[in-house]
């Protein structure tokens, strides 16, 4: 491992700037927006999973006292116009001619109270022609399945399909000749897996409030992961210029990818336009489950071939991913991540993106990667068993590395998968014996590519020598702290002297979404750039003040000094005494950090005990290892690893969208949609591997997404060792464990 530079601030664990507001309840979240004269909105949702909408009669609702406006999909545009940009996004916000899933919004009401809005919604008469739904990804692919979109033709490697189909796209990702190579392998293992749709399970339901002034100025308060993309989407859906829309991001109670898409924002804006008053819309938990974007259910068949010495030669897979009601690219993503941990010469993946009558899926923490790893990492486990090799040593022998071809064909830069596996091999957990009946240990690796994209920040010097850091990336994972720390490191001040703030879309340059594990990386690069610009500008002003050439002044460890050492001053002294006398000083840092960060790899170890009588899986011990590049704030990085593992434990053991045959999700609440409680998750040990990322000035890598990738397979591998029975379907609920271990006769 490369030696880590001696950082002054990076690697410490200061208190987060937003901490006090959050623990005292003062922080303003999405639903906390309150404006004078504000109305409450309510969204009416389809009770049917698949139905034509013949007509909507809103007259009774409009006549109810206290109701100020009722809207339908037609209200997004001026009469006679259609939404020409993002038609799918618009139709997902509010169904026009067809409801494609239960919970699909069909109309909305604004009224003086929430109760009246709900009562009014019940008076809206929607004339539905109910159609048979298709709920299973493989069934949806079959000829004769109910068709969601009559006009849709499959994209295939050989061109568009001829007939309507629920297959959005068949994507082929092939390197080498997998079929020929498999035929020559000494050891071939295969698996067929299926996983169910699951939700991100963020604590805070979606909420949005909008005002629409008579001059067309629109302001939207929302708990979004990306205020700039939200502004863009609202502009496109509403046909309203970006310059007239300001999005103010509130605090956000979790997102994990589920708060990238807009749902309530354009609806609130239309209702505000129609009523001339502020309108607030909030979702309850069932709206969140039924009306937002969970992650796809999947069906995967995969085959892995290796030589008798344990060298992987070929991987072949057929992966079908639900996109929910509208086209997406979940399966296409899967082709980009499925084989990333290993250096395999021959890979062939056929991926199918498929629409079904369920909510339109969205990203969820390393989207598409966990379900793929559930299949691939069990294959690796099977191969290790067949080869008689330690599953970690087998992974090490086949690990991707710098220069090996990544899953998109591009060679990896410096990555740390092998280092993670080595750290796991050396870990106290892996070296501790696991004793007792019905217990098993499982391991699995995981990958997410982590992205860069665009970020901007402004830095202003204050008269007392502190600095304000203005950023546009929503702070979900402690990024106010991690960005302030990078600025403090760069300009040589104390962390406490940097005051970070997340601002609205009018107040800072463009920022892409807080997603893809990108903010500490890419906004961090913008911060470093801004810090360097600041030092440069201060040096110029100091040159005038000291009457020396600018190049005679050096800056290091927070101190400006002339070459002869005759004049020196700390950042704070110069800021106060020199900058403070001149005009205000604000600098920016703006970056396009590219697409890829180089790749984030994780490796998890888990011990389980399975109750043979009840089928219940208890997590006894859990260790999450991850290459995090440089841990800027190690506590928050550890928190990311622990949070990802906890979500993975829930996904593995109990979470699922449970549908009845009509397409109704019958467990749309936290009573029966079982995310783990604190008593279900042991203390998750973390091992931070730091292989500095050459693409970032401080070696940072995104940390948020890789840790949700290994748990599904790691737990499945552990359950196999505990019971002798492979688990190929999720969730590994007590019921499924009893059924698959033959306990129910």
């Amino acid at each position: 491992m490369t030696d880590k530079p001696n950082y002054r601030v990076i690697g410490t664990r200061p208190v987060r700037p937003d901490g006090i507001d959050k623990v005292t309840g003062r922080a303003q979240y999405g639903a906390d927006t309150r404006l004078p004269g504000m109305l409450r909105g309510y969204v009416l949702r389809s009770p049917h999973a698949h139905a034509k909408i013949r007509g909507i009669d809103t007259s009774k609702a409009e006549a109810l006292p206290g109701v100020k406006a009722v809207m339908t999909a037609a209200d997004f545009c001026a009469p006679g116009q259609t939404v020409d940009q993002l038609p799918d996004l618009s139709a997902n916000l509010m169904a026009g001619t067809k409801a494609l899933y239960r919970g699909h919004a069909v109309a909305a009401v604004a009224a003086i109270t929430d109760e009246i809005a709900r009562d009014a919604a019940a008076l809206i008469e929607v004339n539905y022609e109910v159609l048979p739904p298709v709920l299973d990804v493989r069934e949806a692919m079959l000829p004769g399945a109910p068709i969601l979109h009559e006009a849709m033709r499959s994209r295939t490697p050989t061109g568009p399909g001829e007939n309507p189909s629920n297959i959005v796209a068949h994507t082929l990702s092939a390197f080498g000749d997998a079929d020929a190579a498999l035929a020559e392998c000494d050891v071939v293992v295969d698996i067929v897996t299926s996983t169910k749709m699951v939700h991100q399970g963020y604590i805070e339901p979606q909420a949005a409030t909008a005002t629409w002034n008579p001059d067309g100025q629109v302001v939207i308060w929302t708990c979004t992961q990306g205020s700039f993309p939200a502004r863009q989407n609202c502009s496109q859906i509403l046909g309203h210029p970006i310059s007239k829309i300001k999005v103010i991001p509130t605090e956000i109670g979790g997102g994990f990818g589920g708060k990238i898409a807009v749902y309530l924002e354009p609806v609130a804006a239309v209702l505000a336009r129609k009523t001339g008053k502020p309108v607030k819309l909030t979702m309850d938990r069932s709206d969140v489950f039924e009306g937002t974007g969970p992650t796809p259910g999947t069906s995967i068949r995969a085959t892995l071939g290796a030589t008798k010495d344990g060298k992987f030669k070929a991987l072949k897979a057929d992966m079908a991913y639900e996109n929910g009601a509208y086209p997406g690219a979940a399966a296409t993503y899967a082709t980009m991540v499925a084989a990333a941990c290993y250096d395999i010469e021959h890979v062939k993946i056929d991926a199918f993106d498929v629409v079904v009558n369920k909510p339109r899926t969205q990203d969820y923490r390393a989207p598409s990667s966990p379900a793929a790893a559930f299949a691939i990492e069990q294959l690796v486990d099977k191969a290790a068993e067949k080869l008689g090799m330690d599953p970690l040593k087998l992974r090490l022998a086949n690990s991707s590395h710098e220069g090996s071809r990544g899953p998109m064909g591009m060679p990896f830069s410096r990555i740390g998968h092998a280092e993670c596996v080595e750290a796991a091999l050396d870990s106290p957990h892996y070296n501790a014996p696991l004793e007792g009946p019905n217990r098993g240990r499982g391991v699995a690796s995981g990958f997410w590519f982590n992205v860069g994209l665009r970020s901007s920040v402004n830095v202003t010097v204050q008269p007392d020598g502190t600095v304000s850091l203005v950023e546009g990336s929503t702070d979900i994972g402690g990024t106010r702290a991690s960005l302030a720390m990078q600025l403090a490191e760069t300009i040589g001040v104390e962390y406490e002297d940097v005051k970070p703030a997340v601002v609205d879309t009018d107040a800072v340059g463009y920022n892409d979404v807080t997603a893809g594990s990108r903010v500490t990386f890419a906004s961090g690069m913008a911060v470093v750039e801004a810090g360097r610009n600041l030092i440069k500008e201060m040096t110029a002003r100091l040159a005038t003040a000291w009457n020396v050439p600018a190049d005679a002044i050096s800056f290091s460890n927070g101190v400006f000094s002339t070459a002869d050492g005759s004049k020196t001053g700390t950042f704070k002294q110069i800021a106060e005494n020199v900058v403070g006398r001149g005009p205000g000083l604000t600098v920016s840092g703006s970056v396009n950090a590219g697409f890829l960060q180089g790749g984030g790899f994780a490796h998890h170890i888990v011990d389980v005990e399975v109750d043979p009588d009840t089928g219940k899986v208890q997590i006894l011990r859990y260790t999450a290892v991850q290459d995090v590049g440089t841990a800027v704030h190690p506590s928050y990085v550890e928190g990311q690893l622990q949070g990802g593992a906890a979500q993975g434990i829930g996904w593995a053991l109990n979470e699922e969208y449970y549908y009845d045959e009509t397409g109704r999700m019958v467990n749309a609440g936290y009573l029966d949609y079982r995310i783990p409680t604190t008593l279900d998750v042991p203390m998750i040990d973390t091992i931070l591997v730091e292989v500095p990322n050459p693409l970032h000035p401080y070696g940072v890598r995104g940390a948020g997404e890789p840790p949700i990738v290994p748990p599904l397979a790691a737990i499945a591998n552990a359950v196999y060792r505990a019971t002798g029975q492979r688990q190929t379907q999720l969730p590994m609920s007590p019921r499924r464990i009893l059924e698959t271990t033959g306990k129910l006769g």
Binding site: R155, T156, P157, T158, G159, P160, A169, T171, L172, S173, A174, F175, Q200, G255, F256, G257, G258, I260, A329, T332, Y333, T335, M336, A351, D363, Y364, R365, A366, P367, G403, M408, G409, M410, P411, F412, S413, W448, F449, N450, V451, L453, D512, V513, A515, G516, S517, R518, N592, G594, F595, L596, G704, E705
Partner: protein, 83 residues
Amino acid sequence: MFIPAMMRSMTGGAAQVPASGATVRAVIEDLVRQHPGLAGRVVDENGVRPELFIAVGSEEIFNLDQAVAEGAEVHLLAAIAGG
């Protein structure tokens, strides 16, 4: 030239396509000449499409006039973010 999965319907399914040119811009122009379906999908009048990134070897590049060595791999990367 490496084509991202979602654009392979425009290259007859091919993931790797030979193209020649002294700069990234020239290589892309050659690619589009061979596969006209890609016209406007990689670069348009304002430069590289916002949803695409380009790498030469293992390094992403932002300047279309960057030189490309003989035998170099040019990668088109379709950007997605994640969760």
